[in-house]
């Protein structure tokens, strides 16, 4: 018997569902798609799902998992039900993401120059002084074009109130954009029919825009800059993305060992000898880019690279030292930062945050752990997070103890309920609601900016799970931004 695929969809009114209203009616933007999908049976979908997986393996959109015996090639799970964002909704996201990126850029300039915002006590000085990501070496340096965070990824969620909230700004080496394009490609291969009914923005112009942005911050005196992408190598889990970006931009993908520095100029070793490089879009973290200045044991970077940068011989994208501004503690000051530098109200909401470094707020946090998400300020990838309503009594006591040992290290936020979206669950062979978030990608260059019309919708595949990071078993969806 052919089962319609939404027959066993379970609603949970505690969350905002992207597809269904509280009255179990399909929201307007999804109606056509829902009708198309309802014509499929469960078994049709199972076979489409296999096809989509093949599309990823064949495109080589994979990462390696190292086991005891053999190395396995894996794909990030991809869901066939796309996320749709209406035009009006998108315009707000786009302007809000751009506003944040610009404010963060001005904030970084200020931090590495006059530090006015600290002097006026709008952001507390000790927050910066105690940050491991503040690079003294960057003080007084003017990055080309005045840009620090050329590439920003903004993580957003939709709360039960139907409003978007920013959870995090990523301005070090945000990744995931290749999946935006890869997901679109995979969906087109498997469900090409659905594209006839929607006018969605294309996402394949990211590479061209990225190239223009990084060329715009070329070193002084260079006419046509030679740009490269710097990767840690084929074994890095984001290698696919690095090669994808190099290919989209038509530039060389290099590793640290391909580069060589002489008289502070950076060269790459080619089949015809050394060739000079002007701009490096580096996907290697600050700590590893130059063993002479940072981590001495790094073999991923290039000795002398930082000095070349400071002398203006080569441009680095993103600039070193941006990590100080996407710290979770700084995040809580974003409304003030936007107001201070741009004299604008924030377009996107920030989640209310309690600082454990403040005695009264620490007290509230310790008393209300069951209602809060507690996060370390300096970890990424979803590690070290505790979600209050999932903890046992013993676990709560443990969290209390950990926070008290080092209050500065923790912040807490109300448990935001991530919206849910219909997601195909392989084991169940049906669609079920799963929590999703959204990452948008913003580019800043000299006199130029760009927000990719689309984004990475990450989905937590385990039932009830709120952590969507791929390192925690998350998958992703194609994300359509509709044209007007």
């Amino acid at each position: 018997m052919k089962l319609p695929i939404f027959s066993s969809y379970q609603f949970d009114s505690k969350f905002y569902d992207e597809i269904f209203t509280d009255n179990k009616e399909v929201r307007e933007v999804y109606q056509t798609l829902f009708k198309l999908f309802s014509e499929y049976s469960v078994s049709d979908f199972a076979s489409l799902n296999d096809k989509a997986k093949d599309a990823f393996f064949n495109q080589g959109i994979t990462f390696q998992v190292y086991g005891d015996k053999e190395t396995k090639e894996k794909i990030f799970p991809f869901d066939l039900f796309p996320r749709i964002i209406g035009n009006a909704e998108w315009l707000k996201l786009e302007s809000g993401a751009l506003q944040r990126s610009k404010a963060l850029n001005l904030f970084l300039w200020d931090l590495y120059h006059d530090q006015k915002i600290l002097k006026q006590n709008i952001v507390p000085r000790d927050l910066i002084a105690s940050s491991a990501n503040y690079l003294k070496e960057m003080e007084g340096f003017d990055p080309p074009g005045g840009i620090y965070n050329h590439v920003s990824g903004t993580d957003l969620i939709k709360h039960a109130d139907g409003e978007y909230y920013v959870l995090e700004d990523n301005i070090r080496c945000p990744s995931g954009v290749s999946y935006v394009v890869g997901n679109r490609e995979a969906l087109k291969r498997t469900l090409f029919g659905v594209f006839n009914s929607y006018k969605s923005h294309n996402v394949s112009d990211y590479g061209q825009n990225l190239l223009e942005i990084i060329e715009s911050v070329k070193p002084k005196g260079v006419d046509i800059p030679k740009c490269v992408v710097l990767t840690p190598g084929v074994y890095n889990s984001a290698y696919y993305e690095h090669s994808f970006l190099a290919k989209q931009m038509g530039v060389e993908l290099v590793e640290g060992r391909d580069l060589f520095i002489e008289n502070d100029f950076v060269y790459m070793k080619t089949i015809r000898g050394l060739q000079r490089i002007d701009v490096i879009y580096r996907r290697v973290d600050d700590e590893f880019i130059d063993p002479q200045v940072f981590n001495k044991d790094s073999v991923l970077g290039v000795p002398g690279l930082f000095k070349s940068y400071i002398k203006g011989k080569v441009s680095l994208v993103n600039a070193p030292g941006t990590g100080v501004a996407d710290d979770k503690a700084i995040y809580t000051y974003m409304p003030q930062i936007i107001k201070y530098y741009l004299d604008e109200e924030p377009i996107l909401n920030n989640v209310h945050t309690y600082h454990c470094s403040r005695p009264d707020e620490l007290k509230y946090v310790l008393e209300n752990i069951d209602k809060l998400v507690v996060k370390p300020v300096d970890e990424s990838g979803g590690y070290g997070i505790s979600i209050g309503n999932t903890l046992t009594k013993e676990e709560i006591e443990k969290v209390q103890k950990t926070i008290q040992e080092n209050p500065r290290k923790y912040i807490a936020q109300p448990i935001m309920s991530l919206s849910t979206h219909a997601t195909y669950i392989e084991d169940q062979n049906s669609f079920e609601p799963r929590h999703v978030d959204l990452r948008t990608f913003t580019l800043l260059g000299k006199d130029k900016d760009f927000v990719l019309k689309g984004g990475l919708t990450r989905v937590a595949l385990r039932k009830g799970n709120l952590v969507v990071n791929s390192s925690q078993g998350g998958g992703s969806k194609d994300t359509w931004v509709l044209k007007k």
């Binding site: 393996f57 084929v234 080619t270």
Partner: protein, 316 residues
Amino acid sequence: MLARVANNLFWMGRYIERSEHIARYLSVNYFSSLDAPNEASQSREFVLRSMLFVADEEELKEKKEFNESEILFDCGLNPEKPYSILSAIKNVQQNANGARDLISTELYESINTLNRTVKAYSAERFVKSGLFDFTTMIASNVASLRTKIRATLLHDEVYAIIMLGIYIERANQVIRIINSKYNDALLEKVNFGGSVRTSYEWITLLKCVETYDMMRRYYRKTPTSDTVLEFLILNPNCPRSIMNSLNSIHYYIGFLTNTENADKDSAAFLIGKLMCEYRYKTIDDFQEDLKGFIETLVDDLSLVGEKMGKDYFSLS
């Protein structure tokens, strides 16, 4: 182009070529032995030895027992054996991965798909009944890779380096296959009498490199050792001949270095010199000492590979 990536492209080309030669050698030898005119060529151990000789000479030296399924598995699908077709295709994929920003999406995807197909191929089926199916699949997929290389890449340095890998490997494989079949012909004579000159193995040799029909067309005579060797070594129009490979290597190295005034210690100079030497050789020059001739050629080719490494792929 980066020296490191050039090295990846070179080896991608070599492994593409290698996988096809091994596949063809396994299949042609196995099937031609089934109804061979004499006992020697029909003997299973004789064929298995020959297969292993071409796949990995060193392995043959240590081998005591010749079990058909085991040797077929080792040469075809054993991931532990560096000489298996599976390992060759895996190396193609890994090298392509290291250079994936330089090659076309179409080529890269075809390589990935082939690698996945080979990895998923049932070993049991292969050793029992799948030899023909598997080797034909490899040959047709490699043909499709060649088409993608030719039709989707810019014919620039990237292309030239892949072609250099392909032709150096081709020359190497063809000379090894000649060597193997020459030894088979000798063995046949020692054990069962008859003449090396008119051995059945020469026909198998031509089929191993897919030149049997064209050789018949060219000479209009039953193949003998001298015509076969002349055709496979010296005929520049035979696409699998050593001469043809040398001409091609010389042509493609010209994309990287000006061959007219190349440094005398360079790969480009050496290949020019070799090509000219062979252009003026005749069958009489090596008929006397075929063994010595083969050894010299193998050494010369490996020297070209070494010098190319130094000239183009070195990171220091």
